[in-house]
Symmetry: D3
Subunit: 139 residues, 6 copies
């Protein structure tokens, strides 16, 4: 079994707060990230795929093709955006690291056959990262 | 399934040597770390928790609360200490990276419900790290 | 001559665009950063001071005191903010990396005597950084 | 269960192209790496072993011994080499990151008892890495 | 005075050896890099420009334009190349880090007016870097 | 003018406190580093030399020779030591980052002719570094 991980970067702004919660509750859950004006991060997105190495090419996946899919389906939508305002899904869902990772999983799942999407890792700051593994794809 | 990893840092000194072993045996197992005066490291402690994302908050865990628990139960005891002398457990147990990771696991296990402690990773130098997964918590 | 550099971090959102320029001009100068909704970064702020080492303490500066000044005069104003909206100076001045570095210089100049503020370095992304040296302080 | 990871570095050149494929096919699969003159990388090799912590030493493995094995069986063959020309196996197999990781696995499997080789991670550039887990060793 | 530094990456192979020197002399000067088959690196190229901040844009330089110049005049010639063979200048000059930095300086000098090229930094491995400042440009 | 920087690492323990000062004074100047048991760091030592590139070799300095000098005159004395106890100079001088940098300068000055020692940079933690330039060598 082999896994290949590609690392991508994007910069985005967000607010972590629910309008139906008061400030005390938002701050308890989200800390400083609840500031209503918004703030931002340099996100690192790590996309991991797994499968078998092709015996001829010695590769698990054609990397230029994988990069094109991630750019089109994820980075083009998130990079240099204010997530709560510019991305449909985050108008209702709070754009936490957890939810951004799920957004990337949903956007890429089933798109990179014959490889299988193995996991999404999203690094929000040098001290905070999440890793998401969604429901298994049918490869 | 989602995992969230927080990265913390502490600086500490230690000696890796058993008083009941001679120098040759200590050097065979511990290399340069056996110098009896002690030396030190900038440790990076990565605490990973797993569980379900709360559908309202979009978070796995309240990060400010998690940080407070790790600071109180681990960092306050290890940061800027000489581990063999200042920490009870390391008066008898050799403070290897392996044992420091187990110390952190034992200190945090069961303390972060409803999330589950998934693993502890301790980076001792840029070339040396351990990852510890203890007996499963009862969540 | 000795210099000491402390590294601080803050996360903020900004827009790089002038309202009196059209989109084509803004994009020519600012690239993707001109998106009017805003985006954000994990900024690294490096504050360098210089002077003589105190022969007794062996230190150039009392680091806890320097940290307190930087936190109060810079980080408290910029961290987890939308710079164009939450910081007076950036309501009129475009919050480029260059201007944020000058903001930090102006906030710290003359505040850390007997040391002298040597330079401010602001790292905006892993590929973009500025270094600012303002008019010499009178030490 | 505990895992220990050691990080090693080597610098090498390679070409990613099959002589029996034309340029268009090689470029589709390998991108810029297909340039026939060759190019190179600073590789990072992470060797992870797992097992039980020895209750006396507090260590999973004698690190100086592990380092010596990796240096002799892997680094001495790959460091400062042109892989396609200087390493027998890569005269016929394309030296992709995937295949270099398998080379390291095969070279180390069964050599570090009583520990078990857990995985090989090879970082080729800051944006590209593979992780390989071969057939289970009989420990 | 303000400086802006952009960080670029390229991967290349090279040999450090003079054909008119014997192996002992080449190894004395170049160490392991003298292996005649070649080896390679992930180079980091840092281009620093200096000048005055434009009071309107708040920028020292139009970054998209600077990036285009560096890509066309430096990266397109060096990335994914075997330097001794694919770059005219390095057929006669040994492609040391020092000489690659001078190559970049010569390629960029005078091309980024009204800013002034301040210095070139080339990071060859995580432990080896050079910084080059050529003869002053006439701005 | 060209500068070459080599990066070395060592791990050491130290205490920052003067025995003739009380705890309050030591904590004011040194913060948590004043804990009398000691603590430690993974230090990064950057040695920068400058001079002219040799037109034949394309190198400023024979790197293997420079490495040997730094290992013998600095690293062998500091690596895996408790600085206050194991290094003569630090029995009386407080082993601050500033004083360790001066130690390295004094040990290397005049030893690497025909190159000139340009500066010493010592990184103590990811947030704390000093840079020292001593009295000019007579080259």
């Amino acid at each position: 079994m082999i896994r290949l991980t590609r690392r991508y970067r994007f910069s985005a702004a967000h607010v972590l707060a629910r309008p139906d919660w008061d400030d005390a509750r938002n701050t308890e859950i989200y800390g400083k990230c609840a500031n209503p004006s918004g703030h931002g991060h340099n996100y690192v997105l790590e996309v991991t795929v797994r499968g078998e190495v092709d015996p001829q090419s010695g590769r698990l996946v054609a990397v230029p093709k994988l990069d094109a899919i991630v750019r089109e389906r994820v980075l083009a939508l998130l990079d240099h955006r204010f997530l709560n305002r510019d991305v449909d899904r985050f108008e209702t869902e709070v754009p936490t690291a957890e939810n951004i990772a799920r957004f990337a999983w949903d956007a890429l799942k089933g798109e990179i056959a014959p490889s299988i999407l193995d996991r999404i890792r999203l690094v929000e700051t040098e001290n905070n990262a999440v890793e998401y593994v969604g429901a298994e794809e049918e490869a």
